[in-house]
Symmetry: C2
């Protein structure tokens, strides 16, 4: 029982810092997204392709969370955008306080789009508001078309769902329609994109939508 | 601070029930494994193939955990082995108490190998002892060869690592050697298998090792 109480307090404290982050981002004219997925769905590749498609149109920065290593920040650093690596040392999700501290490292930068790449975990990050405008769920087609039904929370909370690695469809039993339909069953308002970071299929549609969201 | 204390108490309480589970399984002559992976690495397919390969040699039962749905239990039920579905309703891992309760449903069965399929999450289940003999980490090649470095805890705790979906290697930038090497860097004692549940490559080696572990 006491655990439940404390857990609530943790979430309340997190939400309060998330609101501060949101106010600060708004004041600075920053639109922010929180990318959530399992490990290996291609979040970092999606961030790379998003930067390639949008960097001439708007100023982008990235905060990337990992349990260990700064491999993701090294990959993103090559694109010449401000990037902060958060290493959680075992922590299974980012929280608003970690994002607040990470943002301090880049608060003097001129940023229009802040991409927050969460720890690879389809479950726990769903519950933590970071102060972002939109949560975006990413899933690789290799994960199977039944997964939106099995991990519904993140689909409830997301504004958009990026189905990634669609170049692998010919080699899988996964149905893209079934994956999309299962996601929309959970959240009928979900905007669904299908992308490949290898062939770049679907990348224009995703980045145009994202650009439009930032400028709305 | 208080959260840390309570979290420790939660883990201590869990470990105490895990020890009870372990004693009970030993008394009943049951060898048990706890399969841990991200969503969509192919855990359920691996369970199916393991049953196909071993069911004539030994009596198998399955406890399968999911956040929502009983799709996995329905799949396994077709193989005619006792199966219990745990639905965690949002919970990000199985704990020893859930396994104790699930086992009560099948305690009158004659079981030699109990396969516990955890919730799809590469992070949180790593910390929870269920009373199993071995934790087994499963990862699909589509998740990328850097992942053992980024999610080291489960590799530390596992006896074996099953690299699954190797039939997809020709279509990926993933190196099997690199994935194996990264895992062994984290845990040099790790036994590594490479499998495909489509082509059945590697399945003999994995199931022979598992059979031998049960009979040791």
């Amino acid at each position: 029982m006491s655990l439940i109480t404390i857990e609530k307090k943790v979430l309340e404290a997190n939400n309060s810092i998330a609101d501060e982050n949101r106010s600060k981002f708004k004041e600075k004219g920053i639109f922010s997204i929180n990318l959530i997925s399992s490990p290996g769905s291609g979040k970092t590749s999606l961030v790379e392709q998003t930067i390639i498609h949008l960097k001439d149109k708007m100023k982008i920065a990235v905060i990337t969370g990992d349990i260990q290593t700064n491999l993701d920040a090294e990959r993103i650093d090559k694109f010449g955008v401000p990037v902060v690596q958060i290493i959680t040392n075992g922590g299974c999700h980012l929280d608003a306080s970690l994002v607040r501290n990470a943002y301090k490292e880049i608060e003097n930068e001129d940023i229009e789009l802040l991409i927050i790449e969460n720890v690879g975990n389809l479950v726990c990050p769903s519950e933590y508001d970071l102060g972002e405008n939109h949560k975006i769920c990413v899933m690789s087609v290799t994960e199977g078309d039944d997964k939106p039904l099995k991990y519904p929370l993140i689909f409830h909370h997301s504004e958009a769902f990026v189905i990634n690695k669609i170049d692998l469809i010919p080699y899988l039993k996964c149905s893209l329609d079934e994956m999309r339909n299962n996601a929309v069953k959970v959240n009928p308002k979900l905007k669904v994109f299908s992308t490949s970071c290898y062939s770049c299929e679907g990348m224009d549609e995703w980045t145009k939508w994202l650009f439009h969201q930032c400028r709305m």
